[in-house]
């Protein structure tokens, strides 16, 4: 019997994914032999960088991990440290933090929906082509993103790598009058977010159904951002402090980033997981928009994640307006912190999914050990599993088409690979 012919296809860069990494696919005839998403993580650079630093430096350092979701890193960090120091920030600070997180969800999701993901459904190569073919649509996306940016700028001091978050609260909180200046833009954004849901709800979605185990925070009171237990669609519910007992990280030879498994199996974090586990706590306007586009709460087609992200933009804008309307400035911008040695853990919901932090601190407030589990690392094994399911349906296609479809599927997860890596190339090998 003749040896099967061997072909190797290389696509230089996986386009429109946040950051870069590499995907290697090996096909043996009709069998998908290997799928390796290689993430070249700067070997836990930030975890090492944090060692020996004072706890007060942590929020500003971890904000540097990602230019798109710095608030998420800050939030998980301060919650972890506050849980160790027994700090209760009170309702007003809590609301402001939620508002800040709303800003990040809006800007991050708007960027992904309009500039990275939507081009896949419109037959254009990227945002630049969209700017040429449908400039009004792209302008709407840019203005929607800006509605998130202005929240970050006002509360965080600047839109990228905000500087006001500290353990115990904020270094500065705005007066009511300042916050209210955001309302006009946010009310426009609420209409734009509704239009966005209707727009993406009308896209033509490839038929691809995955068998997901969803993992997200779950709170009785609200759609999760800063608080809640770790829940899974397999029935798990546990305090965030027990995250590592259920979601285990392990090293794969092909990647310097750690893979995560829930009880030995891949799982998915992110908007689809949040929706599945928290749809009862969506705001009424979001529930209505979801019904209008005919979306179920269990979204098992990854391509439809663009609808879920759009719904979460609407959720965040509508909630931001409510927070501002009800806002009363706290008596002090930050609660007093009494340092004690020990270990603190917390998880919050980054735009891309659950983000877990653990810190061991000594009695002087110096960090002895830091552990950060970003959402993209958690989704890495799940993305590989999706590729194994997708590839058998593509075997009769040209290699370039296969590469595009793989890229397209990865984009559905909005991987913030720069949080965990630097380069992404796609290689398909047929043996």
């Amino acid at each position: 019997m003749a040896e099967p012919r061997t072909r190797k296809i290389k696509v230089d860069v996986l386009a429109r994914v946040e950051g870069e990494g590499a995907l290697d696919v090996t096909l043996a005839g009709d069998e998908v032999r290997d799928v390796h998403l290689r993430i070249f993580e700067p070997p836990r650079f930030f975890e090492t960088l944090l060692k020996g630093r004072h706890y007060t430096e942590v929020p500003d350092i971890v904000a540097r991990i990602c230019g798109i979701c710095p608030v998420a890193y800050q939030m998980s960090a301060v919650h972890a440290l506050e849980s160790l120091f027994d700090v209760d920030v009170g309702d007003s600070i809590r609301s402001l933090r939620r508002l800040l997180y709303c800003g990040e969800w809006i800007e991050s999701h708007a960027l992904h929906v309009y500039m990275l993901h939507a081009p896949d459904f419109l037959g254009v190569d990227g945002a630049l082509d969209l700017a040429a073919s449908e400039p009004e649509i792209l302008q709407r996306g840019l203005r929607l993103k800006k509605a998130g940016d202005i929240i970050l700028t006002l509360l965080g001091g600047r839109a990228v790598h905000p500087v006001s978050v500290c353990v115990g609260g904020f270094s500065r909180v705005p007066p009511v009058s300042e916050l209210r200046t955001l309302l006009e833009d946010l009310k426009w954004a609420r209409d734009a977010a509704l239009d966005t849901v209707r727009w993406v709800g009308g896209f033509d979605f490839p038929n691809l159904v995955q068998d997901y185990t969803f993992v997200a925070l779950q709170s009785e009171a609200e759609y999760p951002m800063n608080e809640g237990d770790v829940a899974a669609s397999n029935g798990l519910k546990a305090p965030a402090s027990l995250f590592e007992e259920h979601c285990e990280e392990h090293q794969e030879p092909h990647s310097t980033a750690l893979h995560s498994h829930l009880h030995g199996k891949p799982y998915l974090v992110g908007p689809q997981a949040r929706l599945c586990l928290n749809h009862q706590r969506l705001r009424p306007i979001v529930k209505q928009a979801m019904a209008d586009v005919g979306l179920n709460s269990s979204v098992t087609n990854p391509h439809q994640s663009i609808i879920v992200r759009s719904l979460e933009i609407l959720q965040a804008v509508d909630e931001a307006i409510e927070i501002i309307d009800a806002y009363e400035a706290p008596a002090v911008p930050a609660e007093h912190v009494v340092v004690k040695g020990g270990t603190g853990m917390a998880a919050t919901e980054a735009p891309r999914g659950l983000l877990y932090h653990r810190y061991r601190v000594n009695a002087e407030g110096l960090i002895e050990e830091a552990k950060i589990v970003p959402p993209t690392s958690q989704n890495q094994a799940r993305i590989e599993e999706d590729m194994r399911n997708l590839l058998p349906t593509l075997l009769d296609r040209e290699d370039g088409e296969i590469a595009f479809e793989c890229e397209r599927l990865i984009r559905c997860y909005d991987p913030c690979i720069s949080c965990a890596t630097h380069f992404l190339k796609l290689n398909i090998k047929r043996i």
Binding site: D12, V17, E20, D125, L142
Partner: protein, 158 residues
């Protein structure tokens, strides 16, 4: 007649020579007239372009990796950089060229935009500026100052 003059330095101050634009802007804040809007940022964003009025001037200073000798100073107009390789954009990779290209496509007034780049030697975390970039920093500052003065002179012309 020119409108407002913006000078924006881009860079990551933790990443070696990548901080060159940011450091240049900080120095220029000391030497340029107070009515010139000087700022420094970790990365470019749409608001840099969105705020521009028809006659406004935008001068951007950034680190460049273009294969020239370290310390070489490059000068670009937006059309020079708003071209090649832009399909491979991401939100982390949405750099100056991408935003400038979008500005051109969406009709933002960038006719008075100028970009000054300095060829870098390294972008290592915690490394600080290289000797080559340090050596050429005064020349970079002088070129930007001259460009600003030309814009202000044009502004003074009725």
């Amino acid at each position: 007649m020119t409108g407002l003059v913006y000078v924006v330095g881009l860079g990551n101050e933790l990443a070696g020579d990548d901080a060159a634009g940011l450091i240049a802007a900080r120095k220029l804040r000391q030497s340029l007239p107070a009515d010139v809007h000087v700022e420094w940022r970790d990365k470019p964003d749409w608001d840099m372009f969105e705020r521009l009025g028809e006659d406004d001037v935008l001068i951007v200073i950034d680190a460049v990796m273009g294969g020239a000798a370290s310390g070489t100073i490059h000068r670009f107009a937006p059309d020079d950089i708003a071209g090649a390789g832009l399909r491979h954009c991401s939100s982390h990779g949405l750099g100056l060229a991408h935003w400038a290209a979008l500005a051109v496509k969406l009709g933002q007034p960038v006719r008075h935009m100028r970009i000054f780049g300095i060829e870098i030697a390294q972008a290592e975390l915690g490394a600080g500026l290289s000797a080559e970039v340090e050596k050429n920093m005064p020349r970079l500052l002088l070129e930007v100052e001259n460009a600003v003065q030309q814009s202000l002179a044009a502004e003074a012309t009725p």
